[in-house]
Point group: C2
């Protein structure tokens, strides 16, 4: 990386490099060995930094994994905006599913489950925020929608549950099926 060869007085530059290296190391190690095998010394060795610099910044391995999970489980993209809540939800669910089903992301998701124990992380809070935005926009256009609670329970929950606990049962058409079923729950009459 060229920044390595350009000494600078801004400690922010060096610090940002360390942070990036440490986060990459966490993701690599989780992908290789699973989240329960990630330790501060292993992350330090992989990132080429001292364990003490990790303890100083993050406290313990749990906080570090929580931070990486929160950052990396967030698909970085604009929300779908098709003008129809059903199509928006379909695109949104497909994207969420495609993102989280990748092996590294699935491992991070499982790791973050353990951390939810202490309220250390809620890496899925952004999904709830997104569902709220989709619903609010549709309401503003006069559309009838499922509630945010129903979207979380019948669309997000089954996706997360399958990826986390029953990874062998997932298939590509799954988000479509869920959106059709969510539609049956909310249809009037």
């Amino acid at each position: 990386m060229s920044s390595d060869s350009v000494p600078t007085r801004r400690t922010g530059g060096r610090s940002a490099l360390v942070i990036a290296a440490v986060r990459d190391a966490v993701e690599d190690l989780i992908a290789e060995s699973g989240a329960d095998k990630v330790t501060v010394p292993a992350v330090a060795a992989r990132a080429g930094v001292s364990p003490s610099s990790i303890y100083r910044r993050w406290g313990d391995v749990g906080s570090l994994v929580a931070e990486v999970a929160t950052l990396r489980l967030d698909p970085d993209r604009p929300l779908p905006d098709t003008g129809n809540i059903g199509d928006d939800l379909r695109a949104w669910a497909r994207e969420l599913y495609g993102h989280l089903a990748r092996p590294t992301k699935a491992s991070l998701l499982r790791a973050s489950a353990v951390l939810a124990d202490d309220g250390e992380t809620n890496c899925l809070a952004s999904r709830r925020d997104e569902a709220e935005r989709l619903v609010e926009r549709a309401h503003a256009h006069g559309q009838f929608t499922p509630s945010v609670r129903q979207i979380m329970d019948h669309l997000v929950a089954p996706i997360i549950y399958r990826i986390t606990f029953e990874p062998d049962t997932v298939d590509a058409g799954f988000p479509e099926t869920l959106v059709a079923e969510l539609d049956r729950i909310t249809e009037t009459g």
Copy 2:
């Protein structure tokens, strides 16, 4: 414990005591500090056995936690049998929820999420088996039911998801709501 003072030639007796003590220690430690803090030395100290006897029998802490999760996450009770699939599912969901929402069980559930990574555990396979039995019995009585897949996705998944990732959002009436919504998905016409 009286067995301690009665020497016996059956090593099974001694061995069973060790196994029980180790499993209890795992559950206690998870309840106290969370699953990510459980280590073989800590379990050994709590159970009053040597770490090497744990490594010998279980291999590593992951396998040990997986075993305890599989045993303890299983509510030990007969399946509801009301003669009506809707009532059966309501009773079943309420029981599952009541069992898993207890703090120790919720922590075990989160711990088992990490282990699902290596296919080391699927502590929820019994839930799928139970759903299959409920559905088969109702079919034998000529009743129309949701599919097992729908029961897992719209009843079990939201319960597990909320307990695992959003423990602050659960309330006692939640299983009832889900069963009513599952009913809307499957109702004909």
